[in-house]
């Protein structure tokens, strides 16, 4: 009995140690860039140029690096732009997608099948596909270099429609019928009864949308030339390419500032993020 228990636990012990060894090596690979970014951001330029492996900076140069980063590029401006764009896109996406999804899920109207087929088809079309014609149209109307230009292709999220339709479909018809008997209009039913019950899905989609558009580079790179409107990734691209900033310490300080908001939000709302991925990821 004793022997059995010992052999069982030693087998377990090996598996335990093995799993942790593999996971820790992997975790080191995942976290090393973040660690080195932070360490370099507080290092002095001369120490960086020697290219040493010493993890601990000899002198604390954080203030200089971060001030330099803020002076060389309007990093705060980029972030404000990012917030404006993400918020604008998300609000309109929700306002457009929620009623459409509800109608597709629970109402009968002519052309419903066709519309849903178009939504499914739209799921396969990334922004890079309609980019050219939309760019030409925006150029034609002189709308390039504006918040509107950055947001307009994303006002409709077929993915949001699809996700919300799946969620709304699970909503019991009896409750809708009871609400109709009670004299509520479809609009009231939607906003006062259906939407509150779908908040987890809406939260999940919001996270998905914000992460996607905060990090998007392709579209802003096309429609934005003036730095005033640049969102964080485009700003980072300007910043990384500007010849003046040869100092890696300053560059890493900038990268830290750009990366920080989403990473912080993730650390604070880890559960929601994971839920969001599993809900939106598995279509």
């Amino acid at each position: 009995m004793e022997a059995a228990r010992i052999s069982l636990s030693s087998g377990r012990w090996f598996r335990f140690v093995g799993a942790h060894a593999v996971l820790l090596i992997g975790a080191a690979f995942m976290l090393l860039p973040f660690l080195w970014m932070l360490l370099t951001a507080i290092r002095a330029p001369d120490e960086i140029l020697t290219g040493g492996l010493n993890p601990i900076p000899r002198s604390f140069h954080a203030v200089e690096n971060f001030t330099a980063a803020m002076q060389q590029a309007p990093l705060l401006r980029f972030m404000v732009n990012g917030v404006i764009i993400c918020a604008g896109i998300l609000v309109i996406q929700l306002l457009v997608a929620i009623p459409a999804a509800y109608a597709l899920a629970k109402l009968r109207f002519p052309g419903r099948g066709l519309l849903f087929a178009a939504v499914i088809g739209g799921l396969c079309i990334p922004i890079q596909v309609p980019a050219l014609p939309i760019y030409l149209a925006l150029a034609e109307f002189g709308l390039l270099d504006s918040y509107f230009a950055m947001m307009v292709p994303f006002f409709l999220s077929v993915f949001a429609i699809f996700l919300f339709r799946q969620t709304f479909r699970g909503f019991p018809d009896e409750i809708l019928q009871a609400a109709r008997v009670d004299g509520l209009g479809e609009f009231e039913i939607l906003w006062r009864i259906v939407v509150p019950s779908a908040l987890p899905a809406i939260a999940a989609f919001s996270i998905f949308s914000i992460v996607a558009h905060w990090n998007d580079l392709y579209w802003p790179m096309i429609v934005i030339q003036r730095m005033d409107y640049a969102p964080p990734p485009l700003g980072m691209l300007f910043f990384a390419n500007s010849e003046t900033g040869a100092s890696y310490g300053v560059l890493m300080a900038g990268a830290t500032i750009i990366t920080a908001p989403l990473v912080l939000v993730f650390l604070l709302a880890r559960r929601r993020f994971v839920q969001g991925i599993t809900m939106t990821g598995i279509k």
């Binding site: 370099t40 492996l53 109207f109 990090n215 990734p233 560059l251 993730f266 598995i282």
Partner: protein, 305 residues
């Protein structure tokens, strides 16, 4: 998990009780979405298809109809062929790596109890981080003189390696960064798949004698994860096929790192060869559709479960 379904919920009873009412409401509710669908997806798509058959360039005085000329040109264009080859090479590296490493990490993390939160954060952090900023960090990490990676290689006695300038190393280097960015995402998807496996099945396997780690994996885990794996494989392929950000920061599409999206970007938005860029976009779209059709087909098969 939800399955794609084109079937309509049965609203007949409802319609008898409220004739015409949801017809009007429904039409109103979908109006904004329909208009936007037309304006930013369908019309541009049509426009793209037409453009891809012309030689339209911004500033050109006249437009000529080329038929399939742009596509023929693409097939013989060495730059496009390199971009296509590099993109497929990139996918070929990231797809198996992303799926297998994501699965491995998920399997190991799934068994953890106290340390699970830590590993979830560690592996997921790169997903949330802005890839452009982190690409700049990678550029520094891989710097031949200043970067710690080469510092480490030198310390162990290896020669200095120019990961971001040696053409033959560019795609593998980009693939490593792509994997770094992707594994956590796949891990989360696999973890959800693992959580959904009924405990009963593992018990049954134990009773049937298939209780060893390999038997458990082959009898229960792997077959049960098949739909998740298929999904992860398709999303990974799509993400990999769209590689752009790291190229834009690290190499700007220089020799050895031409990829499809960057080629489209250059042709269309830098050289303003709209017609040609549109044709390349159509080719890109064809790949996207192929992945999606493959996935829809898989979803259909999953109904047996």
């Amino acid at each position: 998990m939800t399955a794609l379904s084109l079937g309509a919920p049965d609203g007949r009873l409802l319609r008898l009780a409220w004739p015409g009412r949801d017809g009007i409401a429904g039409a109103l509710f979908v109006l904004p979405a329909t208009l936007l669908l037309l304006a930013i997806i369908l019309a541009p798509l049509l426009c793209l298809l037409v453009l891809s058959l012309t030689d339209y360039e911004i500033g050109a005085l006249q437009i000529r109809w080329l038929g399939l000329g742009n596509f023929e040109k693409a097939l013989s264009d060495p730059v496009f062929r390199r971009a296509m080859g590099n993109t497929l090479f990139y996918v070929a590296l990231v797809l198996p790596g992303g799926v297998l490493l994501g699965l491995l990490v998920a399997l190991l993390v799934h068994g953890r109890t106290r340390s699970r939160a830590f590993y979830e954060v560690a592996y997921f952090l790169p997903v949330t981080a802005t890839l452009i900023a982190m690409a700049a960090v990678w550029q520094f990490l891989l710097h031949p003189k200043l970067g710690p990676v080469n510092g480490l290689l030198r310390a162990v006695g290896f020669p200095e390696t120019a990961f971001i300038s040696e053409p033959s190393l560019l795609i593998p280097t980009l693939a490593v960064i792509g994997l770094w960015n992707l594994i956590g995402f796949n891990m989360i998807l696999f973890l959800a798949g693992l959580t959904a496996i009924p405990r009963d099945l593992y018990d049954a396997a134990e009773i049937d004698g298939a209780g060893g780690p390999i038997d458990r994996f082959l009898t229960v885990t792997w077959p049960q994860l098949a739909p998740t794996t298929m999904f992860v494989a398709v999303t990974t392929s799509i993400t990999a096929f769209k590689v752009f950000d790291t190229v834009a920061v690290l190499t700007r599409g220089r020799d050895g790192s031409e990829v499809l999206l960057y080629a489209i970007y250059l042709e269309g938005f830098q050289y303003f060869k709209i017609g040609y860029s549109a044709a390349l976009t159509v080719i890109f779209l064809a790949f996207m559709l192929a992945f999606s059709v493959f996935q829809a087909f898989q979803l259909d098969r999953r109904v047996h479960y």
